[in-house]
């Protein structure tokens, strides 16, 4: 009984420390980004450029635009994620700060969770900024399906952030980092991206959440599997 209560206290105390460390890491990342705006700016500008290029490439065919719009949005988000992760990694490796952080963490997965949440915040900001532009350029009324889209985008950016953060950490000390990150990240995120593209397309076409339940299930499973897997192996990943 006493041993059980001691274990429980240790667990709760460990969770509190873990949460404090996640919050400290997240606050540091967001404060740095607020000052520099380097990550958001590069992600946003790149996403807008992708939209502009596709807009010109597709032309004025309204029906075609409606069909491919969801794909274009997710491609823009996918590449913006790569760009954001690369910039975030550069900031961590400038003075080897990541090593200092690793020395201070009892449970190193706190670093993963904080980086993942920070990436989600950047992606969310990009989505909020590009959706109105997409609505104007692609002549799509996103307001009509905003509830369903919110769920799809939430699951999508969660998955992209989980997988992206993992590969950003793996490639942080590799020589050809700029090449390795997209080469590892893009193929692994294909199942999630396909599900997100189809779910978004169906919602734009006026379908309900019930109609895209299979895609949502796939995205939830993808996120749970990768999140659990990464928490288990993260300690080995960040080690030199």
């Amino acid at each position: 009984m006493c041993k059980d209560s001691n274990s429980f206290i240790a667990l709760m105390s460990g969770s509190k420390v873990f949460l404090q460390q996640v919050l400290a890491l997240l606050a540091k990342d967001l404060k740095t980004e607020w000052r520099t705006r380097e990550i958001f700016t590069s992600m946003f500008v790149f996403a807008v450029l992708v939209l502009v290029v596709f807009n010109f490439a597709i032309g004025a065919d309204t029906e075609l635009i409606r069909q491919v719009a969801s794909g274009v949005i997710w491609v823009a988000l996918l590449f913006a994620t790569v760009l954001g992760l690369q910039r975030a990694g550069q900031l961590e490796s400038e003075e080897d700060s990541l090593q200092g952080v690793l020395l201070a963490l009892r449970d190193r997965s706190a670093l993963f969770v904080a980086k993942m949440i920070a990436q989600m915040v950047y992606l969310l900001a990009v989505i909020i900024c590009i959706l109105p532009l997409c609505g104007i350029w692609f002549r799509i009324d996103f307001i009509a399906c905003i509830g369903g889209l919110g769920i799809v985008f939430a699951l999508g950016i969660l998955g992209l952030s989980i997988v992206g953060t993992l590969f950003a950490m793996i490639t942080l000390h590799t020589r050809a980092r700029e090449v390795m990150l997209p080469m590892l990240f893009l193929p692994v995120s294909v199942p999630l991206t396909i599900a997100a593209v189809y779910a978004t397309a169906q919602l734009i076409a006026g379908k309900s959440l019930g109609d895209i339940a299979d895609y949502l299930t796939l995205m939830v499973i993808f996120n749970i599997v990768f999140f659990a897997l990464i928490l288990i192996v993260f300690d080995y990943i960040v080690e030199e």
Binding site: L25, A27, K31, V101
Partner: protein, 232 residues
């Protein structure tokens, strides 16, 4: 025993960086590890800092296995590496607050003021670190390393970028930390600076500790002869 290494080997692919390191260090001792570039000093300190695992052998710090119980070892360590581990877009105060929060340091605000005073940076506490000179960054890195009252301080080439005044401040700091029973391991290839700070010295060459023994005090010439005899 604060530090106890037995048969530590570290391989990077086909290259062997450490070839069987045995080391014992009592609590409160100051050990200087000397050796030429490529001797494996930094690799040894990284293993002690739990930043990398040994390929073979055992590492115990304060009675904990540094590989299996790394999470218990890390709060005991203060590490000053080749790089400062600081964030250029944060101020000195913000950097220290960040690390203090990660370590869960009690009465953090007072402690930050205290360590900034120790490294003479109080006047620059609210200045962005990227505007600091190299020497100031190194001093702030020292403050970061001692912020959470470590019991084992690992200093890898700590004199890098420091001017004469800052070197003597660092040496004063080492003496102060020794007086409060902090164990210190300092690696350097500088044979002339602060020899009298050490209780013990070790010479490392090609991944092995080729000499270890008590400090020769401030006998620089005697130590140079000893070093030449082992390193060449």
């Amino acid at each position: 025993m604060m530090v106890h290494l037995e048969g530590v080997i570290k391989r990077f692919g086909t290259m062997t960086a450490l070839r069987g390191i045995d080391l014992k260090l009592q609590r409160g001792c100051c050990l200087g590890i000397f050796g030429p570039n490529g001797a494996g000093k930094t690799t040894l300190l990284k293993i002690l800092a739990t930043l990398t695992r040994p390929s073979a052998g055992t590492v115990h710090i304060a009675g904990y296995d540094a590989v299996k119980e790394a999470e218990k070892v890390r709060p005991l360590l203060g590490v000053l590496g080749h790089r400062t581990f600081l964030y250029g877009h944060l101020t000195a105060c913000e950097n220290l607050r960040f690390y203090g929060r990660l370590f869960g340091t009690k009465q953090l605000a007072e402690r930050i003021t205290e360590v900034l005073q120790l490294v003479d940076l109080v006047a620059h506490a609210h200045q962005l670190v990227r505007t600091y000179s190299r020497g100031m960054q190194q001093r702030l890195a020292i403050a970061r390393a001692i912020l959470h009252y470590p019991t084992l301080l690992l200093l890898d080439e700590p004199y890098t970028g420091l001017d004469k005044h800052a070197v003597s401040r660092l040496q004063e700091l080492v003496l102060h930390l020794r007086s409060v029973s902090c164990t210190i391991i300092m690696s350097t290839h500088d044979l002339h600076r602060g020899l009298d700070l050490y209780d013990e010295i070790a010479i490392q060459c090609r991944g092995k500790i080729v000499y270890s023994g008590p400090s020769l005090g401030s006998d620089v010439q005697g130590f140079e002869q000893l070093y030449s005899a082992y390193v060449g």
